[in-house]
């Protein structure tokens, strides 16, 4: 089974539209497909803007993991195949097989550990392709999947150039490879001196100045590896570098995963940091790796009307958006799902597997 995450850079960037196209092509290819979400998807209007949004209409034979309550709220016929112990705000999650096509409300596991459990159930049921729908800009639980599809668009920023730069930054974040010694590192921030001695902090994340100062105090000479397995604010790494820690400038930087970087800071800041690191000849690697398979772009955005205190649908130029993003991420397929010709998404989904890409300096 392959598990694919469909994430978005923001709300309304086209996650569901992309996932629906993958489902459509999977059904045509006769694949046994499964769907879940790390959030909630099923309302016909956006919960914030009130604007219409696409809904999941699932074909027979597909599996879905969602809360019992949400299953009943949809129009699809179903048979529950497995109950789980995973609970969400909207109730206990069950895995069901769609008997009759119809609308489905999907509210799946919101934590990575729970997502892994659901994916195991899908696999045991003989699923060929599991799709994990993202929620807003949330992305970290997707590490349990085999590859990521990213939806971006004007809902992130109405300025096409900004969307394109953002896309390039994300692409760059996914470039570093998996560290060969990734299994050697635990859950804490570790500093390996040039001579091999390892010092650990209590925490695994670098999110505040206190932690940054702790690192600063612990470094007394050349550093071979700085390992930050959790969340990490790129501005704090820059600050460490800016405050005389030249010994860090040649250290290998081992970070948690590209998803943790995306969750931790502005992709543009990471892009800048990575570019500078590469410029110094510094090696950047991940403990966990996930490939970015392709991107989709969506020209739609909700335009706020201050006088009406409401939103109206709006679009940027779809051709300009697609071309701009394609130009910024050479080598990565980019599509507007609604612009012909329709891409063969299934072949792209099977293009690469987790951890096989090798990136670096």
């Amino acid at each position: 089974m392959r598990a694919i995450g469909v994430a978005g850079t923001a709300k309304n960037t086209g996650k569901t539209t992309t996932a629906l196209e993958i489902i459509r092509q999977s059904a045509e290819a006769g694949l046994r497909t499964a769907l879940t979400s790390i959030g909630y998807d099923g309302e016909d209007k956006d919960t914030i803007t009130g604007l219409p949004k696409p809904r999941y209409y699932l074909p027979p034979g597909m599996y879905v993991a969602t809360s019992e309550r949400c299953l009943r709220a949809g129009s699809a016929g179903y048979t529950v195949k497995a109950a789980t112990t995973v609970r969400t705000i909207l109730g206990r999650i069950v895995v069901a097989e769609i008997d009759e096509p119809g609308l489905v409300v999907v509210a799946g596991p919101n934590r990575g550990v729970d997502l892994r459990l659901i994916l195991d159930i899908f696999e045991n049921l003989g699923t060929d392709l599991a799709i994990v729908d993202g929620a807003l800009n949330r992305i970290v639980p997707m590490i349990s999947t085999d590859g990521l599809v990213l939806a971006t668009g004007a809902a992130l920023d109405e300025r096409i150039a900004c969307v394109a730069r953002h896309a390039r930054a994300i692409h760059e974040i996914f470039a570093p490879g998996r560290a060969a010694d990734s299994s050697a590192w635990g859950q804490r921030i570790s500093i390996r001196a040039d001579r091999g001695h390892v010092t650990e902090l209590e925490t695994g994340s670098l999110l505040g100045e206190d932690t940054a100062l702790q690192i600063h105090r612990l470094i007394h000479g050349p550093v071979r590896d700085l390992v930050i397995p959790g969340a990490c604010d790129p501005r704090l790494i820059e600050r460490l570098l800016d405050h005389g820690l030249n010994c860090l400038r040649e250290a290998r930087l081992v970070l948690g995963s590209p998803l943790k970087l995306l969750a931790s800071g502005d992709p543009l800041a990471w892009s800048s940091l990575l570019t500078e690191a590469y410029g110094r000849g510094q090696l950047v690697e991940y403990i966990e790796k996930i490939p970015l398979l392709f991107m989709t772009v969506n020209p739609f955005y909700p335009r706020y009307l201050p006088y009406a205190q409401a939103y109206e649908p709006a679009n940027v130029n779809k051709c300009e958006l697609l071309a701009a993003v394609q130009d910024e991420v050479p080598g990565l397929p980019v599509f507007d799902i609604k612009q012909p010709p329709g891409p063969d998404l299934l072949s792209l989904l099977h293009r690469s597997t987790k951890g096989t890409q090798s990136h670096g300096t």
């Binding site: 923001a10 959030g39 919960t47 705000i89 639980p141 604010d233």
Partner: protein
């Protein structure tokens, strides 16, 4: 001790966090709060340092705010904090669906509900919210408890004694098709053959049904014999009935009371969408928002034909059809802590409606003979006979009844309306029943024409409540609904005026209040649930605003009370002097044509001394005879009706016709 990190992700406001902090400290939790404007990174950093078991976030939702909250959740996951700390969120516009989308473990919607927060912190299941202390305290109100029904005004007491003695003497030995059908219905229920789909005893069912149909109008006979449904009526499908429990399964039980202080008044709202399934939805929503009781309303046409339908029936217009099955279906879903009132004075089916209501679990009844006998209602003679029968039944079953004063809406002045309520109060008491008068708090035509509310609506309404305290120690339940005719198509305006009237009634010691949905008068279709909630919320806020403070009688209100008291006494004196309650209604002593009130005509000349007499009355020839008599009444001027109750000859019609011509 559990540690809870409280974080306002709002750039400015942290009131909710401060309030929650105080409550959690009082509940024994160790808390830490972050200042307004904290970033997701700062929250997670603090969490990693302090290691709380839960992080509670407060934030008003807006565009792009979702992404900030999503980042917080993602950071918690990326940092590993999520493995040890659970995440909860509350704030304006946050819903459970939004919380799920954001990836939180709990969402706190609406005002702070501490038991819900504590349940989350203690890791109890969501259904543990049944333990909400406000839900547990939900008990069915007893509206008559503690009242002595002693008359403080002995003049009025004496007049009422004379009037009610006359009524009971007059009604003695009389019966009607409605009463006879009620007896048959009661027997059908006792025999277990009240439903068409009942198993067993087919012979008993058929025998009783034959007797029943002999007392019914042609529309009802066609329903039972030819399966002809009235226009706009259909049977509920089995799946519509079967699916309801699933729909309700995830409903949130319990809610705050509408009251802010004290145990009174109880708040009642009316339902009657036409569809029993929809009614249940409305009832459950109203219960969730804190109403204490619900009132069943049926279509007006149901009062105008002899006999009731049966089965689970839906009606595409206003009002839910009275059947045993509909009643029992609805009652099954009413919370045990919610009082259920069935409007009994249903014209020609008044006694039978009582039987069905009682058999289905009604807690309160509603009946007012003078009001039901006027306007488009029932012939006064018929409803008096049926009404007295019902009051006896109410006493037998121990069911209190309220007495609506909605004849004010036709233009009847309050003193005449209240005289009727007092007669009904005294009549019930004499039969052993427990009455609850419903003086109408409204901007009635009488008030408009006479300018009695030109300056304000407080003085007159306070006087209308104060006068009851002067006359009798009885529970008073303003309705029905309060604020009638103050409402406009504007939902905000309607909610506000309803809430103002409810607050005034609460201040004046009302035992219960019936309020409307804010779109009730102008919905041009089914009443909507959001509009119901509007009114409830507005009322709750108004009661929160006033608390234990009170409206006081101004000198103007004191004067109005005294005037009202005297006028009520004068009306009762006239009725007593007339010596014939039914004639008093016909003659307009309790509201006349100049008040906009006309005696009802349905069921005229259907009162007899026994069942045999009834059969004669109901024979085809007799019906022609009745039609002739009815025409006489229509054509004769009111002043000619002094001889009501005496046999009138064919000449009377000619004389009347000439007179009118």
């Amino acid at each position: 001790m559990s540690k809870v990190l409280l974080a306002p992700l709002d750039p400015v406001h942290d009131n909710a966090i401060k309030l929650l902090n105080r409550k959690l400290v009082e509940a024994g939790y160790e808390t830490a709060t972050l200042p307004p404007g904290s970033t997701p990174e700062e929250v997670i950093e603090q969490g990693l340092t302090w290691r709380p078991s839960a992080i509670l976030v407060s934030r008003t939702l807006g565009y792009k705010v979702g992404e900030i909250l999503g980042r917080l959740v993602d950071l918690a996951e990326a940092s590993g904090l999520r493995e040890t700390a659970r995440l909860g969120i509350g704030g304006m516009a946050i819903t459970r669906e939004v919380g799920a989308e954001l990836g939180f473990d709990a969402t706190f919607v609406g005002e702070l509900n501490l038991p819900e927060v504590l349940a989350f912190l203690e890791g109890r299941e969501f259904k543990a919210q049944v333990g909400d202390e406000r839900a547990e305290k939900r008990t069915k109100p007893n509206l008559v408890e503690g009242y002595t029904y002693q008359f403080k005004d002995t003049r009025i007491e004496a007049l009422l004694d004379a009037i009610t003695n006359q009524i009971l003497a007059w009604a003695e030995g009389k019966t009607s098709p409605g009463i006879e059908r009620a007896k048959i219905r009661a027997e059908m229920i006792a025999e277990g053959v009240a439903s068409g789909d009942c198993a067993g005893k087919p012979g008993v069912r058929q025998r009783l049904l034959d007797q029943y149909l002999g007392l019914c109008g042609p529309e009802i006979v066609a329903f039972y014999c030819e399966n002809k449904l009235p226009s706009g009526v259909r049977r509920l499908r089995p799946d519509e009935i079967a699916n309801l429990p699933h729909v309700l399964q995830d409903g949130r039980p319990g809610a705050a009371h509408i009251r802010h202080v004290g145990q009174k008044p109880s708040f009642f709202t009316q339902y009657g969408t036409g569809c029993p399934v929809m009614d249940v939805m409305h009832i459950k929503v109203c219960e969730a928002w804190g109403v204490d009781g619900v009132i069943h309303f049926d279509p007006s046409w149901g009062a105008q034909c002899e006999g009731l339908l049966e089965g689970s029936l839906s009606h595409e217009h206003d009002g839910t059809i009275v059947t045993l099955e509909n009643f029992r279906f609805i009652h099954r879903y009413i919370d045990p802590g919610t009082a259920w009132l069935v409007r009994v004075h249903r014209g020609l089916n008044t006694p039978e409606t009582l039987v069905l209501g009682q058999a289905s679990g009604a807690d309160y009844l509603k009946i007012n003979i003078p009001y039901g006998s006027t306007g488009g209602g029932t012939d006064p003679e018929r409803l008096t006979v049926d009404g007295v029968y019902c009051l006896r039944q109410a006493a037998q079953y121990g069911l209190p009844y309220n007495i609506p004063g909605n004849d004010e809406l036709s233009g009847v002045p309050p003193h005449k309306s209240f005289a009727s309520l007092l007669i009904m109060t005294a009549l019930g008491l004499k039969l052993g029943a427990r009455p609850i008068p419903n003086p109408l708090l409204c901007y009635s035509p009488y008030m408009m024409v006479h300018g009695a509310m030109d300056d304000n609506m407080v003085d007159m309404n306070l006087a209308k409540l104060a006068v009851w305290r002067e006359i009798v120690d009885a529970p008073v339940w303003p309705g029905e609904p309060v604020g009638f005719m103050t409402h406009t198509p504007d939902r905000v305006q309607s909610s506000v005026t309803t809430a103002a009237h409810a607050a005034l009634a609460s201040s004046a010691g009302a035992v219960a209040v019936t309020f409307a949905s804010s779109d009730e008068a102008y919905s041009k279709g089914p009443i909507s649930l959001p509009a119901r909630v509007d009114t409830i919320r507005a009322t709750r806020e108004m009661l929160r605003f006033f608390g234990s403070s009170q409206f006081r009688l101004t000198p103007v209100a004191v004067g109005l009370t005294a005037r009202l008291h005297e006028d009520i006494t004068a009306v009762l004196r006239k009725v007593a002097e007339r010596g014939d309650f039914v004639a008093a209604i016909y003659e307009g002593l309790l509201g006349d044509r100049s008040d906009g009130l006309y005696p009802g005509r349905s069921g005229a000349h259907t009162v007899a001394s026994d069942a045999a007499g009834l059969r004669q009355i109901l024979s085809p020839d007799a019906r022609w005879h009745q039609a002739q008599k009815l025409s006489e009444k229509e054509l004769r001027p009111v002043s000619d009706r002094a001889g009501h109750g005496q046999e009138t000859g064919p000449n009377a019609m000619r004389i009347g016709a000439k007179g009118d011509a």
